[in-house]
Structure formats: C-alpha cells, structure tokens
Amino acid sequence: MNKQSDFFAAVAALTQFIELADKNVAKKISASQQNAADNEEE
C-alpha cells in the first residue's frame, strides 16, 4: 500500500533532480559566457 507521504517524497526527489540539473546547466552557461567574454578581451 502506498502512503501519501511516499508521493510527496517522490515529488520532492524529482524536484531535487530538476534543481540539480538546473544548477549544473546554469554553471555551464555562466562558464561559456565567461569564455566568450574572455575571448572578446583577447
């Protein structure tokens, strides 16, 4: 039998996963922006 709290835990886990991906993608974006900025300076 599933418990309601299991569902919320599942939703929380999926949310955490999205947060993690969001964080990593944000890092990559800022890194590439930094690169682009560096290239321009050169």
Binding site: N2, Q4, A9, A13, L14, L20
Partner: protein, 949 residues
C-alpha cells in the same frame, strides 16, 4: 486635333488616334469602367484599344499586363481630361508581371527575393506539416471549447443551475466537458413573462419567442422578435421528393438556410438523380438483400427504414445508415415542425444564436428537432410523476421509449465529438447498440414476478437481456398485468391492500413488514415460492438491482461503456452496477462524502444543534463503515433478524466497537477482519451459506440508495421525526426528495467555465487532467503565481523569509501535506501576505480538501522562488495503486520542466518533459543522479524517459 489628356495610373499618357472618329468624350462617362486590350509594346510604349475602339498609347511602365491581356480601368472625369486607374485583377497581377525598366527591375529583384523567402518558409512549413497539423488540432479544440463556452453563457440561467444540482453530481468535481453535456439537456422552464412582453403574444409563436429571448437574457424588442420571425418563415412547410433527393444526396449540414435554398431551387416535380421506379415485384426480390444489408449496417428493419431504402434505391443513392437517417429526418421534418414543442425549441436555439452573434440561417434543424423531443420527454416524465392525471400510459411509454433512444443517440454523438478521428469511425456501430440498450431498458418497467423467480432459480442469466426475456415471456403468456410488481389501481389493487394481506404473515415470522418486504413476499407468493427470510432477501436483492440499473444506467454511462467495447446488455447485473458506481465515483458522486459535505454546510450556516450534529456524524461514520467493510453490520442485522433501521444499526455498530455482544476476531498477520463471533454462533459460517451473501449485497444497495437521498432537509427530517431512527432504511430510501440544494453554486460554476481561458481548458484536456474548476483555476496564469510573485517582491526585505520556501522541499520530503506547509508560510508571513497565501490555500483546497489530488506550492530552487504544481491525473487518491501524477516546475536555466509519472507497487515510471531538445538532453545526462536521489528518498525508479515538447 489636340490630344486629349488621359492619365493612366496618374501618369500622363498619349492619346494618339481614334478609330471611327470616336473620341473619349463621346463614349466615356465619369465613374464607368472600360476594358482595353494591350495590343503591343514597342520601345517602352504600350498601345491599348478599348472595347469601344478608343485607341491610345501609354508608357509601358505604367501599365501592368502583357500583350494580349484584357485590362480593366475605372474612368474618372477631371478638368485636365480623363483619369484611368487600372483595376488590378490580383491573380493576373502576380502571375504575369509586366516588363519593367530601371527602378522597376530592382523592385522585381526584391519581389523575387521575397518570393524565395516565402517559398523557403513554405517548404519549412511542409517539413513541419506534422506540427501544422498539431496546431490545427489545437485551434480546432480551442474553437470547440469557445463554442461550448458560448453555449454555457447562453444557457447558464437559473433553471440550468437547478438542473445541474438535480443531476446529483458533486458540482466542484464536474468537468468542463460534463457540464457542456449536462447543459445540452437542461429542462428549460419558461421564466415569468414581463407585462410589456404581452404585446408580442398576439403574434404567431409570440410566447415561444418571448420566452426564448428572456431565457437567454436578451431584450424583448421589435428588432429581435422580427429577426426570429423572419427565420421562422424560412422553415419548410412541405418537403417534396425532389428536394429530399437533393438534400439526402449531399453531406452538407441540414441548416435552416440550406434546406430553405434547396426548397426553392430544386425543381418542384423533377427528380434530379437518375430515377427509376421500382415495381412492387422487383422490390420484393431485393427484400432479402436489403435485409442483409440492414443487419450488416445495424439498421433496424422497420417499415420506415424499408421505405427509406426504397426511396434511395430508386434514385441510385447509396443505402447507408446516414442516408436512411437523413431521409427519415427530412421526410418527417414538416411533421416535426408542426409539433407542439418545436416552436419553443426553435426560438430557444435562435435566441442562443443571437447571443453568440451567429446568423440564424446556420441553425441546425436536426438539433432543434432533437431538442424539441427532449423537452417533450421531460414533459412526459413529469406527467408520469403525477399519477393523478389520467393518461394512457402505454402510449406514453411507447413515446418515451422512442425518445430515450433518440436521446441515447444524441449522447453517443456527443461522446463522439470528443473522441479522435479513428474512434469516430467506429462509433456508428455501437450507436445502434446503445439504442437497443435503452429500448430494452425502457421495456423492463414494470417488472413481473416471474423475473425474480427465473433469476433466483438460475433459469435466466442476471443480465439486462435475461431480465428482458423474462418480461417478454410473461407478456406473451398474457399474465403480465396480473404479475406486474406494481399495484394496478384500476383493479382496486392498491399497495395498502397488498400490505394488509402480507403484513400479518410477515409479522408472524418476525419480519418487519416494510414496503420492500411486502413487495418481496408478494412476488414470492405469485411464484408459489415459500416466504422465507432467505427467499425474501434474494428477491429483494434482485429487485433492488434491477431497479438500480433502470434508474442509474444513464445514457451517458452506457455510451461510455459501449465506446469502451462493453455491452451492457449481457453484462452481469453486479458488474454493471459496479461500473455505474465507479463512474459516479469518478464524477464525484461518492456516497458518504456527500453527507460529510452537508454536515459541514449546515455547520457553517449554524443550522444544527450539537446533538443533531453528533447524530448526523454518527450516521455518516456508520454509512462509511457499511460501505467500507462489506456491510458487515447489515449482515449482522440480517442474521439477527432485526429490521434494518438506523437505530438497529446504531446498536450493532456499538456492539461491534465495544464487543459486548459480538466478538470480532482480527487476524494480526493481515490486519483484516477475519471473522465475527457472536454468542449464538459463528456468523462467518452463516454468511457463507448463501442467504447472507444476498443480504450483504442488498445492504450495499440500500446504503447506496440512502446516500442518494441524503440531503440536509432529509437528514433533518429524520432527526425531527419521533421515531425517525427506527424507520427502516428501505423506506427512507424509497422517499426520493428532489430539492435542488444550491443553484447559486452551480451558476457560479457555469460562470467559472464560461470565463475560463479556452487555452487553459485545452491544456488540461490534452494532458488528460480533469477540467474541474479547481484545476482550471490552478492552471490559469497569474492566479496561483500570486504568492510566488509576492514572495519574490518582499524577499529582499526580510531575511527570515529565506528559510520558509527553502525548507518546503524538506517538509514535503518528510511527508508533510502541502496544506500544512502553506499554513506555515501564512504563519511566518503574518498579515502582510495573507491575501496571496489565502488564495493559494483556497486553490490547493479546491483541488480537494487535504490536497490529495493536487497542490500548488512555492519552493526555493537554486536561490530563486519557483512554482511547484502537482496534479493527480486519473482521479485516484494518492494512496491508490496505479495513480498517475503530473508535476511541473519553473526553473531559471531550464525553463519549465514537467514530469509525468505513474506509481505502482514496484516503484515509479517517469517521463521528464522539457521545452526543448537541448534541455531534454541536459536533463538526461543527469539520469544517474536522479536514481541516486530517489533511492535516498526511499523511492525506486523503474524507468525514466526524457522527451521535449
């Protein structure tokens, strides 16, 4: 001769010569158009000759066209001469560009470039044809939603609201589509006419026109009335054969205008199609082939359909179901129009069209005829309710049967409009099945005693078909009326009389002579069976089930069953009822919930005192127990031979809980009720011996029926009556009050659907989420994001706020309910954010009390406050196995990410959907992390897919 000035497209051109001495001033008039042929182009000079032989030359760049083209000019007389402006024929212009020079060629180049771009675009569009198709589908769906909204706005009057309340569905759970269907079947009671309306009553159909306008909230003005009158005049008075032939052959919708036009354009006595009269002999030869065709196409074989087939055959038109239906409709149209209910239905639809600003010529006549018939049906049913009116019920029943069939077809059609193309193709087949279900059902009442006996002795299967067969057999033996289970007043056979006969007998056996018991005893005696407790229970169960089926198998439900490939006719009664119950549950009509809501409502209005309230809650809990544990209480009552009354059940419930008289053995290993031990003996064994099995399912039906009638007024009456508690449940269930409870809520509901953004409704529909108002509200933009916006606004000012959304995820992980979390936010924010939090709580609450079906919650994602939304898709509680959940989250770098997951014993299957392929790929690269995070939370993930929208 001075050349007369001619200005071509505002450039001066040279007027050179005139054939036949014709000068412009002799032939051209101001404002006329002339056509001229471009005869030649030499050295940039074009020569043109008009139709009246005026010859002139002009600069070729001023003329658009090629040699040989016939050009048209509009003529304007000015003081300087004649101004000719070329009237461009667009097609000619784009296809045949004139030779240009200088700047013109640059323009051409630009034009070419634009054309290239256009064609590239076109190619791209071709490539994304699928996308286009999708867009088209979306546009169509949204247009359909808009139409429904228009219809709702038009019918959202008080009577519509009342009808919805009467339908018994939980208003907060009615979906948009269901509401649309209900409103199409609203009994439109005429509103009270205003005194100033009476001036129109002297006109033909005056009252119908006024009530149509009033019902749709339109002013009763001369303009509106005459507008409708003009439409009415276009109705056909007769339908000659050639017109029918013409209309039957095409596939155009049978609108008012279409029929009107055909009626006037088709030659009166001439058949347009190859017509060949078939002699009677010849026709008889074809009879068998036609009959076979009918069976294949599932067309009922009646005189009417044969006549229709002959008509089509003689005109070489395909004999299909549609054509036959179309022919019958057209042939009977003049009769339908002269029908009593037709004007009312006609002007009602006409007024609805005026509201929606649609031309009255597009009124669909089949729809109006059906509406008129539905109204007739309601009138027949109302008359049947008042039995004091002396009506020949056989004729009525016949009419009703036909009408129910038509209604059933209508429902199926409606169901069909909601399904996708491939499904629609299959719908013609079950249509006739649905019709047969209802023709059989309407035949079942009144039941005959032999039905019960046959089922009891397993002589016939307990299916609608089986019951129907028994009824037919009884009729064939002409003992139908004698054995019918309703008392026949004309034989002086009243229920009271039957009761006096059987009551003492039952009393003597220690059985309370409730109406149900008396009826059952009556049936037993008719079948020469012993009146024993077991037999009584058995008969009562059968009777209750048949009654339940005839009352509860709504055409809407049957249509759904048939589209799912089930045949209600040969399903066992238990299966059928289980389906109906599940359907009603899905629609929000679950028994005990309803009482809980009433108690809550009365509480809020302070209508009940403490004691009554306690009593009601007790009933609520008791019914809950009865439904939940297989009606063990009622089983006990049956075994103890105590009458099934609320009081008796109270005692039993008490016994069960205190174990004074009853011992309940619980198997610890399973935690389920193992057996109940009563001092007198082992009930479990008794239950298994058959009689109690009947009692148990019968109890289920009674509990069902009781919750059906459970409305505040009925419950109140129960407590006020001196021995209300002792009144048998069966008798309570027999009283069926039909008082609409709260039309205001229904009106609000209709309004909320009407004002909803069609795109939101479509979004929900396409994701398979129920379109109930709570969901629509939750998904509507700017509504539940108010809190998130507010939090973002004030977050810089208050340090402590940080902690709140940040910890939400943790709280959720720990199993706290979203409602609880929101309450915490509210407490933390104090008065400042009470509005936005309240509205979010209301939304979450609207999604169902304790947020078991959906919620909306602000969470902090990477330092940014975002919105987490979750919906349960298949109307199952979160705790149920196989629940489908949809969640979405706004993020800074990934945009909106949605996850759709199903849940079962083995774990979780998820589909992660992003807005673009790149994001989807990025998400997929972290799949390992997802598994790790889930395991951390104690969740096992079976499989996960990554897609993009």
């Amino acid at each position: 001769m001075n050349p007369f000035n001619i200005f071509i497209n505002r450039d001066v051109s040279v007027f050179t010569a005139v054939h036949n001495q014709k000068r412009p001033e002799t032939v051209w008039r101001d404002g006329q158009t002339v056509s001229a042929v471009l005869e030649s182009v030499n050295n940039g000079t074009a020569s043109l000759r008009t139709e009246d032989d005026v010859l002139f030359t002009a600069d070729a760049s001023a003329i658009r066209g090629q040699v040989g083209d016939n050009l048209t000019f509009s003529v304007k007389r000015t003081q300087q001469g004649y101004e000719l402006t070329q009237v461009t024929d667009r097609k000619q212009n784009t296809e045949t560009p004139a030779p240009r020079r200088g700047r013109a060629t640059t323009m051409d180049a630009i034009k070419d470039f634009t054309q290239t771009i256009e064609s590239i675009k076109e190619n791209n569009e071709l490539r994304s044809e699928f996308q286009q198709e999708q867009n088209l589908k979306v546009a169509r769906a949204i247009a359909a939603i808009r139409r429904s909204q228009g219809f709702m706005a038009a019918t959202g009057g008080k009577s519509a609201a009342a009808a919805i309340v009467e339908s018994g569905l939980d208003i907060s759970k009615v979906s948009f589509a269901a509401m649309d269907r209900i409103l199409h079947h609203v009994d439109r009671r005429p509103t009270q006419p205003m005194p100033e309306d009476e001036r129109f009553f002297s006109r033909k159909n005056g009252e119908a026109m006024v009530s149509g306008l009033r019902n749709h909230g339109l002013p009763v003005s001369e303009r509106n009335v005459s507008h409708m009158e003009r439409a009415w005049e276009r109705l056909p008075a007769k339908m000659p054969d050639p017109v029918i032939t013409h209309l039957a052959a095409d596939e155009t919708e049978l609108t008012l205008d279409h029929i009107y036009k055909c009626n006037y354009s088709a030659p009166e006595n001439k058949e347009p199609q190859p017509y060949r009269e078939v002699t009677a002999d010849e026709w008889n030869k074809h009879q068998i082939a036609i009959e076979k065709l009918f069976i294949h196409e599932e067309i009922p074989s009646t005189q009417k359909t044969f006549n229709a087939a002959r008509f089509l055959f003689e005109r070489d038109l395909p004999i299909t179901r549609e054509n036959i239906e179309r022919f019958i409709f057209l042939r009977e149209l003049p009769v339908s129009i002269s029908g009593e209910n037709f004007p009312e239905a006609f002007f009602d639809r006409a007024a609805a069209f005026i509201v929606q600003d649609k031309p009255l010529g597009t009124l669909s006549l089949p729809e109006i005829v059906r509406l008129a018939e539905t109204q007739l049906k309601i009138a027949v049913q109302a008359a049947a309710r008042h039995q004091s009116i002396g009506i020949d019920t056989d004729v009525m029943r016949n009419n009703l049967r036909q009408l129910t069939q038509r209604e059933a077809e209508l429902y199926l059609k409606m169901a069909g409009t909601q399904t996708t193309g491939t499904e629609t193709a299959n719908l013609t087949l079950p249509a006739s099945r649905l019709v047969s279900v209802f023709s059989v059902l309407s035949n079942l009442q009144p039941l005959t005693a032999n039905v019960h006996a046959n089922i009891l002795h397993d002589r016939t299967p307990f299916t609608i078909e089986g019951v129907h067969e028994s009824v037919l057999t009884a009729r064939a033996h002409s003992d139908y009326e004698q054995n019918a289970t309703v008392p026949l007043a004309r034989y002086g056979d009243s229920f009271a009389q039957v009761k006096t006969l059987f009551a003492p007998l039952l009393d003597g056996m220690g059985i309370t002579p409730t109406s149900e018991n008396v009826k059952a005893a009556f049936i037993l005696s008719k079948n020469k069976m012993d009146v024993t407790v077991e037999n009584l229970h058995a008969v009562k169960e059968i009777d209750a089930k048949i009654t339940a089926i005839t009352h509860k198998l709504h055409p809407l439900i049957a249509a759904k069953m048939i589209t799912e490939g089930l045949n209600p006719l040969n399903m066992h009664a238990d299966q059928l009822l289980a389906y109906v119950r599940q359907f009603n549950y899905d629609m929000g009509e679950s028994g005990t919930e309803k009482i809980a809501r009433y108690i809550h409502e009365m509480d809020e209005n302070q209508q009940i005192d403490g004691d009554t309230r306690k009593g009601m809650i007790a009933i609520y809990r008791m019914l809950h127990v009865i439904q939940k544990d297989g009606a063990a209480s009622l089983g006990l009552a049956a075994q103890l031979n105590t009458p099934i009354t609320l009081g008796g059940l109270y005692d039993l419930a008490l016994n069960r809980s205190t174990r004074k008289h009853v011992d309940i053995t619980v198997d610890d290993a399973l935690g389920e009720l193992e057996r109940i031990v009563r001092p007198e003996g082992n009930i479990r064994a008794a239950i298994e011996n058959g009689a109690q099995r009947h009692a148990l399912s019968h109890a289920d039906i009674i509990a069902d029926a009781f919750t059906d009638i459970a409305q505040p007024t009925a419950l109140e009456k129960l407590f006020q009556a001196a021995n209300g508690m002792e009144q048998a449940l069966e008798d309570l269930a027999a009283e069926k009050p039909h008082t609409p409870t709260n039309p205001a809520t229904a009106t609000e509901q209709i309004q909320s659907f009407v004002s909803a953004n069609p795109e939101v409704i479509h979004k929900l529909q396409s994701r398979g989420i129920s379109t109930r108002p709570g969901h629509i509200k939750a998904l509507s933009e700017g509504d539940d994001s108010a809190l998130v916006n507010h939090l973002n606004d004030i977050e810089d000012k208050t340090d402590w706020l940080d902690a709140v959304p940040a910890s939400n995820l943790l709280s959720l992980r720990m199993g706290q309910s979203p409602g609880h979390i929101l309450a915490q936010i509210r407490a933390a924010l104090g008065d400042e954010a009470i509005g936005p939090v309240q509205s979010l709580i209301a939304i979450t609450h609207g999604l169902n009390g304790d947020a078991q079906e959906g919620f909306s919650l602000p969470v902090r994602i990477n330092g940014r406050i975002s919105h987490l939304r979750m919906y349960v898709l298949n109307d199952r509680m979160l705790t149920a196995d196989g629940a489908r959940i949809f969640m979405s989250l706004d993020t800074a770098s990934l945009g909106k990410v949605s996850v759709y997951f199903t849940w079962n014993k083995n774990g979780l299957d998820a589909t992660v959907s992003a807005q673009s392929n790149a994001v989807s790929e990025a998400l997929e690269s972290y799949e390992d992390e997802l598994h790790a995070l889930a395991e951390e939370n104690g969740i096992h993930i079976n499989g996960v897919k990554f897609i993009h929208e």
